[in-house]
Amino acid sequence: MITGATKPGSDYFLDGLNSIRNKEALTERQISSGYRIQTAADSPTEITDLVRLNGQLAANQTQTQNFGRLSTELQSADQGISTVISAVESAKTLGLQGGTATSTADSRQAIAAQVQGLISQVVGVANTSVEGRYIFAGDSDTVTPYQSDSSSAFGYSYQGAASSTRQVLDGTGHSLYAAATAQQLFDHRDTSGQPDASSVLTGLQNLVTALQSNTGIDTAVSSLETASTYLNGQLSQVGTSEQELTAAQNLAATQKTDLQTALSGIRDTDISQAAIDLNTEKVAESAAVAAEGGGSQKTLFDYLG
């Protein structure tokens, strides 16, 4: 038996034991954390993919939040335009009532007052805000779109931006919703900047004037029909945007699942395999210790007496 500071072979044993214990520690860390990769040194060749997937997942989560925010906005827009369409229908009915031969000057004045109320209702819808943002104010979404203005024909003037250029993109870069301004929706203008037949507010105001003067009621009612058709077209566009948003949300949900699956495939510990590995390593450690402990330590001196 060759001896030295340690028994020959002891260093091999200790190196091997150290190696087994390092593997055990790694496997235990992977099991307890649930992650196979925690630092770049754990699997350097997979780090770029892991970081990319992590970034895409984070972006997906933000996108989903943005879609939720946009969904609320679109629902409010849908509800608001629907409300205005109902108001226009009510105004048409009221106009028809005021235009009948049985109506009196007093009843027409009362009807005109009701239509005036509908104008206020439309202005209320135009001033809808979602989470502090006026959704029909165009790019100036911190400004109340319609504010009282005695010089205006219907008592309010538009203070919002001329257009809404904000873009909310889906995962493919497609713009989901081009929001219309309150003026574009409810006080539509021609190329010269004058209200045209699609202007709801002008149509309602014309009806009020017609009822009060008992002239041109039928014409006013008929122009509301044009405005109603225009609004239904706008509502349809909002509906199309809602459908596209739903599709984008579904796609984002699918992508989230795909990303999570791909990320998990790279990053997460295969628990069952890790458990088997840990058991194997424990057995190897026990076997090594037993084998080392069982070896004969005797020399010839022990037999010489």
């Binding site: 770049a40 040194a41 350097p44 970034g55 925010r69 809404s164």
Partner: protein, 463 residues
């Protein structure tokens, strides 16, 4: 009568030889567990007369083997280099969080997320404030990482200094052992142990002198010990940088010699200090990947912000740059990166021109960390990928060092065991030798006893 006296003389000589042999064997058994001890061997040189005679010479020699020693020392140097690199790189590797929970990557993700939310409501003052805060987080993350790397650099410098001090201490011990060897003291074991320890710290070449002393050089050409004289090493260039990135640390001997190539712990530390850390923090003519990333990202974000307008309204003011950094020194970008304290209305969120949109700049900034647009790229890849590649490179170096450490430690163990088999004490062999020598000694003693009786008988006959 003369034949009896000759026989008596021969037996006495044999007793002396066996006594010396037993003495050597006793020394071997006593030192069987002494680290670095080389077994003693008794060699009798036959004078040619036949049998053991007074004219035979007896020499006790060491079983030491210079090749086995050199193999152990080479392996020890490689193991030392791998161990020191593994330790330092392990710390560096931890600084680059690739999970996105903290650090630069988390700051990038927050920057992207915050500007993405801002893009939905670009006029929202609270979200603008959050976006400015996200920029500050990016600057903070780069600053923190640079500071942590600086701390690691300082610790590495300290380790280099301490290692050099240990080398100098061991060199001094070896010179003292040389002096003893020159005066005839057996220093074989102590010298072997000291050289083994030294080789773990730095790669050495050992030249053996006839008087038992050794000459030692490190790094192939730097003299450490010559006879009873040792030459101290010193680390030059220790400390931080005052521009231009990290300076190189070099090792110089008191003789004025220096070498750029070392192995052992010192070599491992120098490799991290002179190659890997400058690759991250800059130095030696390279900007450092961390600075490259910080500058590339900040400069591009500023370009987008200042090219944008604070809103889509006509006559809206242009955006203000968010980031500031030392543009005169590319190796200082990460350390000096700061986010300006902008007010929400100074943040450029809208793109201008015929296709401008109210949230165009916010969208560009939200995509900046992962953008593959040429103008947004750093070194041909997105900022996020650049970071991950930097982390992966460091991770690969760490992984290699860890694997090397295990491999070279195994090689060292193998070399040590081989040497131990060659020069170590075999207790079984010593037991056999002692038994044989003891029997021979007893036999010689018995011969002397018989010769003594014969002599007495002859004397009695003469009377």
């Amino acid at each position: 009568m003369s034949g009896i006296f000759t026989a008596l003389h021969t037996s006495a000589s044999a007793l002396a030889v066996f006594s010396q042999s037993l003495g050597a064997e006793q020394q071997n058994v006593t030192n069987s567990a002494t680290a670095g001890y080389a077994a003693k061997r008794v060699r009798v040189t036959d004078s040619g007369v036949g049998g053991i005679t007074a004219s035979d010479t007896v020499a006790i020699s060491s079983s030491s083997d210079t090749y086995a020693d050199a193999l152990v020392r080479n392996s020890s140097s490689e193991a030392g280099a791998a161990a020191s690199q593994s330790e330092v790189l392990g710390g560096l590797n931890q600084l680059f969080d690739i999970t996105g929970n903290s650090g630069v990557l988390a700051a990038f993700q927050n920057f992207s997320s915050t500007f993405s939310k801002l893009s939905v409501t670009p006029s929202d003052a609270a979200l603008r404030t959050s976006a400015i805060g996200a920029g500050q987080q990016v600057a903070q993350a780069f600053g923190d990482l640079a500071a942590s790397l600086d701390t690691q650099r300082a610790q590495t410098d300290t380790s280099i200094t301490e290692t050099v001090q240990k080398i100098n201490t061991l060199s001094g011990q070896i010179a003292q052992l040389n002096q003893k060897a020159q005066s005839g003291v057996d220093t074989d074991t102590a010298l072997r142990q000291a050289l083994d320890d030294l080789s773990n710290l730095v790669d050495i070449n050992v030249g053996h002198n006839p008087d038992g002393s050794v000459n030692v050089t490190a790094g192939g050409q730097v003299q450490l010990v010559s006879g009873n004289q040792s030459y101290a090493l010193s680390a030059v260039g220790i400390g931080g940088s005052a521009g231009g990135g990290l300076g190189q640390v070099t090792i110089q001997s008191s003789t004025g010699e220096s070498s750029g190539q070392f192995s052992g712990s010192l070599g491992g530390l120098l490799n991290v200090r002179n190659n890997i850390l400058p690759g991250l923090l800059g130095g030696g003519g390279q900007p450092g990947s961390l600075n490259q990333l910080a500058q590339g990202f900040a400069a591009r974000a500023n370009t987008i912000l200042t090219g944008a307008a604070t809103s889509s309204a006509a006559g809206a003011a242009p955006g203000v740059a968010l980031f500031t950094f030392d543009s005169a020194d590319p190796t200082d970008a990460a350390r000096s990166l700061q986010a300006a304290a902008l007010t929400p209305d100074q943040l450029g969120v809208a793109t201008t021109g015929s296709n401008g949109t109210a949230n165009g700049a916010a969208l560009l900034l939200s995509g900046l960390p992962s953008s593959t647009n040429t103008a947004d790229q750093i070194g041909g890849v997105s900022a996020q990928t650049f970071f991950s590649q930097t982390a992966a490179t460091l991770g690969q170096q760490t992984s290699n060092a860890t694997n090397d450490q295990a491999q070279f430690q195994s090689a060292l163990t193998s070399a040590q065991n081989s040497r131990q088999k060659l020069i170590g004490v075999s207790l079984d062999g010593e037991a056999i030798s002692i038994t044989a020598d003891q029997r021979a000694y007893q036999a010689s003693a018995q011969v002397i006893s018989v010769l003594n009786q014969l002599t007495q008988t002859e004397v009695d006959l003469i009377k």
